[in-house]
């Protein structure tokens, strides 16, 4: 079991400056958000998928497909009933509300995929390094990267503990819902205690190795902002600008939608 999303691959996108990856993340959040009509959202979706394919990171889709599916169905259904449109089909459902529901579902999924591609191509260390390079104050980057670093520790401990309890005969995957919840108790206590111990240990290890000692921290991973970064970020920026223009002039909206 491996819950890190990071994929250690050697693609041009993996090699990009983390600042560029952060910009791309920002812009690929913006693209779906700018649009309302599902066709336009689908366009943004396609751009994100293409970027993910270029980074050879779409294999991670398999791991989050249930979340994607659930979110899509849920928001489509909810908005189909809650949005209002002029061409009513039956009861609260209108042509526009269906379109809006599908659009919103796609939007959320597109954003999750954008986040997934970012995490698949960017190591924890690169994220904090990127944030510091972008001028985030040191203490904030410190806190942020500490939080990021705890994730793998917990995941690792969780997996070991689950193994330990399963080998005592704990059968996590069967029984009714209530039974299953009850079965998780033996996992929770050791996970909780391990979490406390490891966040304690982590803080001690970070300080003990001089984290925060010198204001002149260097980075072993080196990145250069090259033409490649400018082109990729520029391309996304151009898309966002063009899309903003089209949205402001009303061309990406669903006609007849009444909020």
């Amino acid at each position: 079991m491996n819950l890190y999303l990071y994929l250690d691959k050697d693609t041009p996108i993996h090699r990009m400056d983390p600042r560029a990856k952060l910009f791309v993340l920002l812009f690929s959040f913006a693209l779906p958000l700018l649009n309302q009509h599902p066709l336009w959202v689908a366009g943004a979706f396609a751009v994100i998928l293409a970027y993910g394919a270029a980074a050879r990171s779409l294999e991670n889709l398999r791991r989050i497909r249930q979340i994607l599916f659930f979110i899509f169905i849920f928001s489509t259904l909810v908005w189909t009933f809650f949005a209002k449109g002029t061409d009513v089909l039956i009861w609260r459902v209108s042509r526009q509300s269906i379109l809006y529901g599908i659009g919103t579902g796609l939007k959320l999924d597109a954003m999750i995929i954008a986040g997934m591609v970012f995490l698949s191509t960017t190591k924890n260390e690169e994220i904090s390094q990127g944030l510091i390079l972008l001028g985030l104050p040191y203490p904030m980057a410190f806190a942020f990267s500490t939080a990021l670093r705890l994730v793998p520790t917990f995941v690792g401990a969780g997996a070991t503990i689950a193994q330990a309890q399963r080998s005592r005969g704990l059968d996590i995957d069967s029984g009714s819902f209530i039974e299953r919840v009850r079965k998780y108790i033996p996992l929770l206590v050791p996970i909780f205690l391990t979490a406390i111990r490891s966040s304690d240990g982590l803080a001690m290890a970070l300080e003990g190795k001089g984290f925060g000692a010198s204001t002149k921290r260097t980075f072993y991973l080196r990145f250069k902002w090259t033409a490649r970064e400018t082109v990729v970020v520029g391309l996304f920026l151009a898309l966002v600008v063009a899309n903003t223009y089209l949205t402001l002039t009303g061309r990406t909206l669903i006609r007849g939608l009444m909020k």
């Binding site: 491996n2 890190y4 990071y6 250690d8 190591k123 924890n124 260390e125 670093r149 705890l150 793998p152 520790t153 995941v155 690792g156 401990a157 070991t160 503990i161 193994q163 330990a164 309890q165 399963r166 080998s167 005592r168 005969g169 704990l170 059968d171 108790i185 033996p186 996992l187 929770l188 206590v189 050791p190 205690l193 391990t194 111990r197 490891s198 304690d200 240990g201 982590l202 803080a203 001690m204 290890a205 970070l206 300080e207 003990g208 190795k209 001089g210 984290f211 925060g212 000692a213 010198s214 002149k216 921290r217 260097t218 980075f219 072993y220 991973l221 080196r222």
Partner: protein
């Protein structure tokens, strides 16, 4: 100026009455190599934490006295600033690894001190090579074996190149040659780079390399001195629960009658050999042979039909690494098997197949005539119990009773019988009377016993223990192993994974040696341990007394065996 200067240091953790260390005075000069030994709970780890100021800056409590590192009082300084001078490797090394790959873990320290990236690259290369982790640069730490993680923790401290390094039990999970390497490296650094070394350790043979040994007990320093002098005082070691050197133990057991002609107690194999000659000792080979055949007969009398059969087993992890490459193995009922091998050789991977924690990616594992792939873990866990190395990964109940009763209750055993089983299990591990205690208030050695008891209560035929003696002091190790031996005599099949060679020699019947995912040696421990050369190729080293015996042409496994066949007057030792 002293590298470390400790004066009248006492500390009690917040919420605890008892002082973890009390009134410690110690001075360590630059470039000195000091080993700190003592029983569990002696305050060794607490002492280490005071050195770089984590106590009292981070862990609060009642602190008095002073610690100075190169003249700087640690109490008033930020831990991160002190890291330039002193770096700790914690006992609990799993919690100090946090990077996404091996290389960045090693780079972390130097980065904090603004070391030039090119230089960091060179340090990564050099330190990973030193700890035999070269080639693992891009690996995720979570996919490393236990020993590989420990090596990584050491490398990430070395790369900072501080003036003092303090390592708290840094070799618990290392293979025998790996243990040796750590002390070799420490010795080199102290000699060549004038680095000051303080290592907390239980292994005596390694400690011989140190300039000085400090013995602690109950929060106090009970003795300190030249490594040889300390290791030649059996009574002192006994008092501090430190395993004596086996050669020394042998000569000491000959009694004062066999005076060493005023000479010192021999400590190494070479010294032992010359003392042997000087004293004109001779062994009764026939006596040894009959002793051996009697032992073998007794062990094999308990064997039944095969319970675990492994055929051409292959295991490939998700990342494509082939950890097992065609293992064939048959284990019979009643056997006591030790699985040995260097770090990363596939030991844990192998035994996790026996209770279904891992499924073969090739070949098959048959337990009790049933293919493990076709049997649920729930079923398998009734036959095969698995005690994890870290008891804290499984303990969750509020009382010892509930913890031990958990397995049987899961299997639907009626409550009346559950009670009986818990009583039996606790009795077997020597914890009768602790039913109502909170498991988390027990010592590590006791928690380990609770873990064993909770596996026992499910009455599995086979019990697997992954490194059952790590983190325990000598006496705890002995009593743990005596317990396991009793279980074996009661009819349980025992499989242990271990790096402890003396444990294997003294307790196991059979040794299975793995190398790069294949079985390279398999047979009675005695037969395997005489193949010293081949063992060295797989980074193993038989215990001192076995190597000593081998030089005399005597295939002994323990000090007792050697004593028995030297044939001195009876009664000196059983």
């Amino acid at each position: 100026m002293n590298a470390v200067e400790v004066q009248g240091l006492s500390f009690a953790y917040k919420g605890s009455e008892r002082e973890a260390i009390s009134g410690v005075d110690l001075a360590i000069s630059p470039g000195e190599f000091v080993v700190l030994m003592g029983p569990s709970g002696a305050g060794k780890s607490t002492f280490c934490l005071t050195l770089n100021g984590l106590i009292p800056n981070f862990k609060k409590g009642k602190y008095s006295g002073e610690v100075r590192v190169f003249g700087v009082p640690t109490k008033k300084h930020k831990v991160s600033d002190l890291a330039r001078d002193i770096v700790l490797v914690f006992q609990d090394f799993e919690t100090q690894i946090f990077s996404t790959n091996v290389e960045l873990e090693v780079a972390f320290g130097p980065e904090n001190f603004g070391v030039d990236p090119d230089e960091i690259g060179r340090r990564i290369h050099a330190t990973l090579k030193r700890v035999r982790l070269d080639g693992f640069e891009a690996r995720q730490p979570a996919t490393l074996s236990g020993g590989q993680k420990q090596r990584l923790a050491i490398a990430s401290a070395l790369s900072i190149q501080p003036r003092i390094i303090c390592m708290d039990e840094p070799t618990t999970d290392l293979d025998p040659i790996g243990k040796f390497d750590v002390f070799q490296v420490a010795d080199e650094l102290s000699r060549e780079k004038n680095m000051t070394m303080l290592i907390v350790e239980h292994e005596t043979e390694e400690a011989l390399k140190a300039d000085r040994i400090v013995l602690m007990r109950d929060g106090r320093i009970v003795a300190e001195g030249n490594a040889r002098a300390i290791l030649a005082s059996p009574a002192l070691l006994e008092e501090c629960s430190v395993k004596p050197l086996e050669v020394a133990e042998f000569f000491a057991s000959l009694g004062p009658g066999a005076s060493l002609d005023g000479g010192e107690l021999p400590l190494t194999v070479e010294e032992g050999l010359s003392a042997w000659e000087r004293l004109g000792l001779a062994a009764d080979r026939r006596r040894l042979d009959s002793l051996v055949s009697e032992k073998t007969r007794q062990q094999q009398a308990g064997y039944g039909d095969p319970v675990i059969e492994v055929r051409n087993l292959v295991h490939r992890y998700e990342n494509g690494l082939e950890a097992l490459r065609g293992v064939d193995l048959t284990i019979r009922r009643g056997e006591f098997v030790a699985v040995l091998g260097q770090n990363g050789s596939g030991k844990t991977t192998l035994v996790k197949h026996f209770n279904g924690l891992l499924a073969p990616t090739g070949g098959e594992v048959v337990v009790n005539a049933r293919d493990t792939r076709a049997t649920s873990m729930f079923e398998l866990s009734k036959t095969v119990g698995y005690v994890f190395q870290n008891p804290d990964h499984q303990i969750f109940a509020q009382t010892v009773f509930d913890e031990v009763a958990y397995g049987p209750r899961l299997f639907g055993v009626p409550e009346g019988e559950v009670k009986a089983r818990v009583v039996d299990a606790l009795e077997a591990v020597g914890l009768t009377g602790s039913e109502e205690e909170d498991p988390f208030s027990l010592t590590k050695g006791q928690r380990q016993r609770v873990a064993v008891a909770s596996v026992l209560a499910a009455k599995p035929e086979v019990i697997i223990l992954d490194e059952p003696t790590t983190g325990l002091d000598y006496k705890e190790q002995e009593s743990m192993m005596d317990l396991i031996k009793r279980l074996n005599e009661m009819g349980h099949t025992i499989i242990i994974v271990t790096h402890s060679m003396w444990v294997t020699a003294a307790y196991a019947h059979r040794a299975v040696v793995l190398k790069e995912g294949q079985v390279v040696m398999d047979g009675p421990v005695r037969d395997v341990f005489v193949r010293e050369k081949e063992l060295a190729d797989v980074f193993l080293k038989p215990p001192q007394i076995v190597r000593f015996g081998a030089r005399l042409g005597l295939p002994v496994l323990t000090v007792d065996e050697l004593v028995a066949c030297v044939g001195r007057e009876e009664g000196a030792r059983k």
